[in-house]
Point group: C2
Chain length 105, copies 2
Amino acid sequence: MAFTPYYAVIFTSKHKDMSPEVADEYLQLGGKMVELAKQQDGFIRVDSVHENLGITISYWKDVESIRKWKLQADHTMARNQRDRFYLYYNTRIAKVEREYEFGAL
Amino acid sequence: MAFTPYYAVIFTSKHKDMSPEVADEYLQLGGKMVELAKQQDGFIRVDSVHENLGITISYWKDVESIRKWKLQADHTMARNQRDRFYLYYNTRIAKVEREYEFGAL
């Protein structure tokens, strides 16, 4: 996918029960965060899967690109907003050192 | 969750259309891989979410623990078996350098 090393932001979350209005707001903000990421220099790709737990992983060329994206993302979904949506979330910054791939998406 | 740095194995996959028999075999093997991981020294936790795409992330104390688990896992689901189940898979070994958490799972 990309030459290692590159970086992954692993976002694991569990959201609260939300009214339809809040759920709508949440989805819009989530979409905006992904759009912001895609426009950012150094962005590689994003994978997002939701069941009971949600996992969104964005991949980046380097930590500097992540830092710039985070500045925008924090503005888009401020901390007090996140607390309205989530029961739990965890953000991990990880350096991808090796990668093995089979087939194509 | 754990003191950084620790390691993440990010497994992203898309499986083939499977007959009920093959799907059953696949689920059993998947469950066995997770059980093997949980019994292994250095295992921290695993998160697994499936929609169209599947993401399973296992977290480990160090690369040596991952290496030992991989030896067992490769025996449990050999390469030719994987090719029967998956259209695509990607395994990334990543070093978790920083972590921010809110709330509890």
